[in-house]
């Protein structure tokens, strides 16, 4: 098991190097000059002043030199400095990453635990009214984009019912309840579409497993329904569910870009969105790298979960 995990971690290194090159190169391919974007159209600079600025931001070096300078910093745990806010990125991410991760975790909880339970129930009560309404619900859930969902939820819970704030963020230290209140709507917007997908997969996966010969055998042996489900159906049905959850959770990080923007959350998604429009090279490349590292870690966790669920993968 340890060897399996170690092998996986070694594999992460070339992936991250690849990501760093792509992230670094891609933002530089986009037309637009960071210096003119940063000073904005309202301020006039002459050529000399512009050249000074480029020099200060290290934009006069060749692209290769810039890349290795950046990598040198990253290896020392320094992600660089934002061109626009002139603040150190390590600090900035230290404050923002927890928000995005917490949002992702809440969304994952909303999107998995009840969804798996409801999916199993729908499969067991196949074609019942419950199953039919669950199927319709998942269809809506997977087809409504989360920004639209955000509009509906805000109108309902914030504007009409006044139960929750329409936007904003409160830190844990500013009050646990205040914090949770600001988390609920964004987490629902991210979590509900995930729940719909997970529920649909759980239902079909469980249905498929129930039809297998070994389940019929177990039933023939006289096992109770409960034991059959817990011992035979669920472990076998869970592998495709884990795969889907793994992919979807990693995808949640993309969803945070829009949701954080709508709800004014101080997370990484909104930060990188603003930085792309400002051509804030250091932010875009470093945040992409960090998000890629998280992505890779999530897939590692998924792989480890596979190994736990399916003993064949541990040795294979």
């Amino acid at each position: 098991m340890l060897r399996y995990i170690a092998g996986r971690i070694v594999l992460m290194i070339p992936i991250l190097i690849g990501v760093s090159i792509v992230a670094f190169g891609l933002i530089r391919f986009v037309p637009g000059d960071p210096v003119t974007a940063i000073i904005g159209p309202g301020t006039r600079f002459n050529e000399e002043q512009l050249a000074n600025l480029r020099e200060r931001y290290g934009l006069n070096d060749s692209v290769v030199v810039q890349y290795f300078k950046w990598m040198g910093l990253v290896l020392q745990g320094d992600l660089g400095t934002s061109l626009r806010t002139r603040l150190p990125l390590t600090e900035e991410l230290g404050a923002r990453l927890p928000v995005t991760l917490e949002l992702t975790i809440w969304a994952t909880i909303i999107g998995t635990i009840p969804a798996v339970a409801l999916g199993i129930l729908a499969a067991l009560k196949r074609n019942s009214w419950f199953d039919v309404s669950a199927t319709i619900g998942t269809l809506i859930g997977t087809s409504v984009p989360n920004f639209l969902l955000a509009v509906f939820l805000v109108l309902l819970f914030a504007v009409e019912l006044r139960w929750l704030p329409p936007l904003g963020y409160e830190r844990w230290r500013d009050g646990v309840w205040a914090h949770c209140q600001t988390m609920i709507l964004p987490a629902l917007c991210l979590g509900l579409p995930l729940a719909a997908t997970v529920m649909r997969f759980t239902r079909s996966s469980v249905l498929e497993t129930i039809g297998q010969d070994y389940v019929r055998t177990a039933r023939a042996k006289g096992m109770s329904q409960r034991s059959v489900i817990m011992r035979h159906v669920l472990p076998n049905a869970s592998i495709p569910i884990i795969t889907v959850v793994g992919i979807q959770v990693a995808g949640l990080l993309g969803g945070t870009v829009i949701i954080e923007q709508i709800f004014s959350m101080p997370g990484v998604g909104r930060y990188v969105y603003e930085s792309i429009s400002n051509r804030d090279y250091p932010v875009v490349q470093s945040v992409t790298l960090v998000i890629a590292a998280i992505f890779v870690l999530v897939s590692l966790v998924v792989d480890i979960l596979y190994a736990i669920v399916d003993p064949r993968l541990r040795t294979g």
Partner: protein, 552 residues
């Protein structure tokens, strides 16, 4: 009001209510009054009621209530105030915070005249217009931890910092006219210019021109982005990135009795709809840039008030004169003749804007009244044919993807040009690419764009039409215009300047290096308990220092 029958009187009072409460603007009130058959005199009364104070079109929210001290005002900003250094920031959201912490020597009034601020009075100017002598206000203290009186040495230091290449300041080009800043004694500052400059005081009223204490800058390693210390009515308290920024009352403020508020809590809300939701749901007490699409809805809320009207923003079609066939004035004129401005401004302003062919709106001293050019499709087609394009031509319309108030009008312009045989494609670019194409490489045919926040007309003329200006994206070069721009800045007599600018505007209307489109209104929305607030046509929130929260 004699001569009105009862029904007319009813209409009159109804309209008057709407005018005063700001539900209808001046034009709307007068148009409806006329439509209802009210006498010319009563229509005029209505118009005046809708625009108190006349020239400045700002509307005052609840000026009548008696100021009450205390309370925290929660303000929704349109962006994250992420760069607090007043000398380097270019973020409007940040400027709308720093203007309460830092102050300058002079300031613009809501009617765009210039008044003294940290200077005790307007400076004395030498005969030749080159030497400005300021006497500083007494009793002005810096915030803690500096806590000492501000002196002329601080002014000299601050002006040095603004142009220091090491900080890459935002006022470098603005301050180029200054040859020297000296402090003969503690309360006197003498500035010498290299040539007379009528817009100089307006330049000094800019929020970048802030006085900062040297020792505080040095303690913070030269970085004022996360720390702040000025002389303003509010003291910087805390900034939580992308979450909130708080300032608290400066108890030692020189303008005794102000500010009224105990503090202000700024929350960045960049999503337009969410800014509306935030004020409607009482999440904040005040929002800037109340979305124009939501003005109707906000006016319908009895617990809210709206301040503001015409703004100093200008929306126009920029034309690249370097390119064939746009270098031909007949083609440009044909484009101008094809336009129907009322249709163009609708999707951008939702009825909250004013079409204008001239740059400065009615009410501004540099306004030039001109007769409206009616849309003339036939004439435009004939003019195009005369220019050698009887079968029309193809163009690209460049605009901003980030600003729907510019991209939406682009599509209306596109369809109006279609009518005279100009086939065009609308290309929307995001900010950095747009700026590069428009200002740096001048890679565009025509563009629907805008500019905003001017105080003095010179800024707009010099920036956009001076042949040597880097922001002259049109590539416009008319020696006569260059001369008029220089003349307009060389005299301080406003009447003489207005005459020069009238000439200038008329030449621009002939040459059409850009085609003016419309001015969008700008509004702030607030709880009806908020008093004392005055809208600034520059979009500034300067008035929060005299704003208070009145008991219900």
């Amino acid at each position: 009001m004699t001569g009105l029958d009862n029904q007319e009187r009813g209409h009159f009072h109804d309209l008057l209510d709407k005018a005063i409460s700001g539900q209808l603007d001046r034009r709307q009130v007068m148009a409806r009054g006329a439509a209802l058959g009210l006498s010319a005199a009563s229509v005029f009364t209505l118009g005046a009621a809708a625009a108190p104070g006349t020239t400045s079109v700002s509307r005052v929210a609840r000026q009548d209530a008696t100021p009450v001290a205390g309370g925290i005002l929660r303000v929704g900003l349109q962006g994250d105030p992420a760069q607090l250094d007043p000398h380097t920031t270019n973020l409007t959201a940040a400027i709308h915070v720093t203007e309460h912490i830092y102050e300058g020597l002079v300031v613009e009034n809501p009617d765009l005249t210039i008044g003294p601020w940290l200077a005790a009075e307007l400076p004395t100017v030498s005969e030749d217009g080159l030497t400005y002598t300021f006497t500083l206000r007494e009793g002005v203290m810096f915030h803690p931890p500096v806590s000492r009186p501000m002196t002329s040495a601080d002014v000299v230091y601050s002006f040095g910092r603004m142009v220091d290449p090491a900080i890459a300041g935002n006022a470098v080009s603005l301050l180029e006219p200054i040859a020297s800043v000296e402090a003969p004694d503690d309360r006197t500052v003498v500035m010498t210019l290299s040539s007379p400059n009528a817009a100089f005081l307006a330049t000094l009223a800019g929020r970048q021109i802030a006085i900062v204490p040297q020792e505080f800058v040095e303690e913070n390693g030269g970085d004022l982005n996360l720390a702040a210390c000025g002389t303003g009515p509010f003291v910087f308290e805390e900034y939580v990135p992308a979450t909130r920024l708080t300032v608290t009352k400066n108890a030692e403020y020189w303008d005794t009795g102000k500010p009224y508020l105990d503090g202000i809590e700024f929350t960045p809300i960049s999503d337009d709809t969410q800014r509306t939701n935030a004020i409607v749901t009482d999440t904040v007490d005040f929002i800037e840039y109340a979305p124009l699409a939501d003005i109707e809805r906000l006016r319908g809320e009895s617990s809210l008030m709206i301040a503001g009207e015409i703004n100093t923003n200008i929306r126009f079609i920029g034309i690249n004169l370097r390119r064939e066939p746009l270098s031909d004035v007949r083609v440009r004129r044909a484009i101008a003749m094809a336009l129907n401005r009322a249709e163009i401004l609708e999707p951008a302003t939702f009825g909250n804007g004013t079409a204008t062919e001239v740059i400065f709106p009615e009410g501004n001293w540099a306004h030039v009244p001109v007769e409206e050019t009616p849309q003339d499709i036939e004439g435009a087609i004939a003019l195009l044919a005369e220019a050698g394009f009887p079968d029309g031509l193809e163009l690209e319309i460049l605009s901003w993807s980030a600003y729907s108030f510019l991209s939406q009008p682009s599509y209306v312009v596109q369809s109006q040009l279609e009518a005279i045989g100009i086939t065009s494609e609308v290309v929307l670019e995001e900010n950095a690419t747009y700026i590069e194409r428009y200002l740096t490489t001048n890679d565009f045919d025509i563009t629907v764009t805008g500019t905003s926040g001017f105080v003095d007309p010179h800024e707009v003329y010099a920036d956009n039409f001076l042949s040597t200006s880097p922001s002259n994206a049109a590539g416009y070069n008319n020696p006569m215009v260059d001369q008029l721009i220089a003349d307009g800045n060389a005299t301080t007599d406003q009447a003489a300047r207005a005459e020069i600018y009238t000439q200038l505007q008329q030449i621009l209307l002939e040459d059409l290096p850009w085609i003016n489109l419309f001015i969008a209104n700008q509004y702030e929305a607030m709880k009806s308990t908020v008093g004392g607030y005055t809208h600034y046509p520059t979009g500034s929130l300067f008035s929060l220092r005299e704003t208070f929260i009145a008991p219900e």
